[in-house]
Point group: C2
Chain length 570, copies 2
Amino acid sequence: MEVVRKNFKEALPLISASIDKADFLVIDTEFTGLINGRDVSAFDTPEEYYYCLLKGAKDFLLIQYGLCAFYWDHNRKCYMNDTYNFYLFPRGKVGTEKMFLCQSSSLDFLGAQGFDFNKVFKEGISYMTEPVETRLRENLLEKQKTQAKEKDAITIPDEHKTFVEDVCNQVRQFIDDNKSDEMEIEKCNSFVRLLLFQEIRARFKDEVLIESKILENKTRVLKVIRIKSEDDTKNYNAQKNEREWEELEEAVGFSKVARMISQSGKLVVGHNMLLDILHTLNHFFQPLPLDYNSFKEFSNCMFPVLLDTKYMSSLPPFKDRVNSSVLQHLFSTLSSKPFSIPTVGSLEGRGYRRADDKHHEAGFDAYVTGLCFLAMHGHLSRMRGEEHARPSATSAVLKPFLSKLFLCKTAHQDSPYMNLAGADPTPSRDHVFHLTFPKEWQRNDINQLFSPFGPVTVQFVEDTSALVALSRREQAAGVLRALQARDGVALLPYSTYKRLIHQTSSRSDAASGDCKTVCVLNTLFMAIAFVCVAFVFLYVVLFMMECVETHFPRCERFPLLDQIFQRFIL
Amino acid sequence: MEVVRKNFKEALPLISASIDKADFLVIDTEFTGLINGRDVSAFDTPEEYYYCLLKGAKDFLLIQYGLCAFYWDHNRKCYMNDTYNFYLFPRGKVGTEKMFLCQSSSLDFLGAQGFDFNKVFKEGISYMTEPVETRLRENLLEKQKTQAKEKDAITIPDEHKTFVEDVCNQVRQFIDDNKSDEMEIEKCNSFVRLLLFQEIRARFKDEVLIESKILENKTRVLKVIRIKSEDDTKNYNAQKNEREWEELEEAVGFSKVARMISQSGKLVVGHNMLLDILHTLNHFFQPLPLDYNSFKEFSNCMFPVLLDTKYMSSLPPFKDRVNSSVLQHLFSTLSSKPFSIPTVGSLEGRGYRRADDKHHEAGFDAYVTGLCFLAMHGHLSRMRGEEHARPSATSAVLKPFLSKLFLCKTAHQDSPYMNLAGADPTPSRDHVFHLTFPKEWQRNDINQLFSPFGPVTVQFVEDTSALVALSRREQAAGVLRALQARDGVALLPYSTYKRLIHQTSSRSDAASGDCKTVCVLNTLFMAIAFVCVAFVFLYVVLFMMECVETHFPRCERFPLLDQIFQRFIL
């Protein structure tokens, strides 16, 4: 089911019911970019991985959200899916103007998949974080309390006086004529509108109401409405207040769905879901914390039972049969023996069917992820002789996979997951070295250098440096001794390299961050030093005078300089 | 005429011809955002105005370009328009991945005008600056020169060995079977594709060619092609090189049109065109300079004859009759007496007609701007008795308006334009004051404070400060004396306020920017100071020893300390 701005309000109860009856939920998202800044390196820790993605998750926008609720149909004896494909776009209406970043390649990719950008920007459902929502609610409450007060008057500049008078005369005419109940004032810029608003309110307070109306095409006009009874004013104000609250609710929008998912406490499944979770937390709950452990706590608190099918498929018994865990490839692998995709139905218009084939639409990808999950869960259950078990967050079968998000870029280096509910893997990096090499070197020269120790993985850092990892890790002990003495190359253990990098970055942080403190201390020190320098200067001058007086060679009253003079100069 | 990626190449000669035959060109653009950072204040100088817009012009993207060429039809005795509405989107294909910023309100606005975002992201024509183009041309030349060399080998990790062997066996089979000329390898991730590419090239070098192909939906597959003769390889390489150059030309894309406009040297008209010019220069020519005077030079060099219809309409004889210079309002004003919009035709499918009504489509807005320009030019010519004059960059009628871009946010404070071809206006700011006031004050309190000096314009800076400008400028002299002594308020002349702001910002620039230099100097100074301090310390110690030796009260060998000692301590 496609959900956009105009059907969001009516879809909300359906969504709530789907979440309530679901055995598990599957999510998938699309964003305007992936990485902003340094990309993850193959040897990064889960914590470094988080810091690499953090900036992107804050700067890029979430524009599509797929939510697929799988529930058991007792009559049909099969799973059913209710799937929602939401188009999202945070609107500035209530003062939540948003600046966001896009990566051209990401939009290009989405475009090639047939992604509908017009639906995003024209019909997207708004969203906001909890702190923003709280602030807006407080502001609106305050505004409605104080709106009875008169606004401050703006002086009418001379060049607009004639026009304002003209319009006021027209309004007078409209009131006196008593032919129609509304009149519109067009063709004025925003400043003139403000002046008219103020003047008409002041002059015809009890006769007309005035409101600024935004037409469909975003043109603003002023509407003057005749007051026919005192109730008119009251009703008008009450309606206006109500409309403002409705607008606020609409602006909170999709965040409500995200919070329902969180509050359900149900198993939430995703495929390669780290970025999905980062964006979900950052855009609908709170800005992502800068500290990794706070993030883990925050995430585990909002989504205590997560399962990443990409991680699941990277472990036995799936690992050996899954060549590529790209979602479509995984689905195709799990469609053939010894695996099988179970039958999953859907009510007309409420979910997807396998024939739909809408890859990279968030809703469809969530649905396919759910099918993969059921196939892998079924396979594991059959292996344990539990033929007809339904997935459950508390089942032993799923326990090894829970709260572990796949880290595709470090998986090959023993850091395959981020554990949101406990300690992360801490793989050894003893087999990794930082190599500085001559400018003309290519990958082959590095392979050559390391050839006595078997094959290596090379990741270039700069033009003349790279991280090099041995495939035969047990060989690591001999590398430094054997290669360090080579001409033109310099080799560091990975741990030393990381320590140096860390020191450099914290030193430059200190240099820029604490510059003020340093400057104050310097000034203080310079004052003291200045006194000393003055003292020395005076001493030298007196010494010279004494020298001149006594015509050399000895100036006994200045023993220090005298000694220096006697020993080194004369 | 709508121009997108697929018809750009064939449209290019038409565009070139339109520019050649035109009397004048009109441009209009749409971007993904307007202001990033501080907005312009009403009292800013043209230079400060530039700095306010600079960041946005660099960070936001240009997504639509309207170019309207007006040429004289001697048979019909009227102007004709050839108008092109270009959808633009810089693609990452040749390594020009672009990060760009969007402002949600801007996209919301464009969306409401019926803007087609899908055309931008899916069919947009690419573009790039000249330095990027030069670099890419050099890179490609270098790449094609060196591509004959063998690529460096990547070690095949153990887990992929079986799969790679399997595929190589399939390729062997394909070669031996000799049934078809092509075979595709699917379902592998990017790393496995790289391994296969390398292995197949190495093992079957003379039997097959291998290429990585991107399908319409951005899926990549490997294609293995049978080599039937030696020419196959040569042709294949020649074709590949040619394709790469074509791709580069496509990526340069719209920049070619922008450069044609510049090279034509013709009169270029726009409405409120400062941002249009900033984006045009920054995206198709060179990144905007950080220095204002360099920008003026650069701009004047690229577009020597510019005319801004918003500026034109703000001067007599139009000023008094134009209430709002919003393009649509201006057009409507110029449609009625004493003005008149001339008849402008177009060839079928090549230009707009007045009935089209596609406001906020860049091409249509350029067309309407051209009509407004012709109407205003006609009016001026008629006033001079030159009934049938055609606009010309050298005519006296247009001279006062050339190279002056309208500054809408400072126009009311005597700074209505930026003069690209000469000195900017330097309006007095003697009537402006910086006021610091108590927290609970509102606009009315400020009006009250200044009431002895007539009406004021107030622009809030922070919660407790504002810039206040007198309408009766001649009163300025008395303000400071009369109001400075008031309790709770502080008043500064605008010039003093600006100087303070400037000092603070340059001081903090120095503090952060030159921190390194300062640190080096400090270290040097500290070394000298340390020697001096050591000297003084030694002196004091020797003095003490002498004192102890001579049991006080006089230590004649240390005259300086002795004197201090005798005078101040004993």
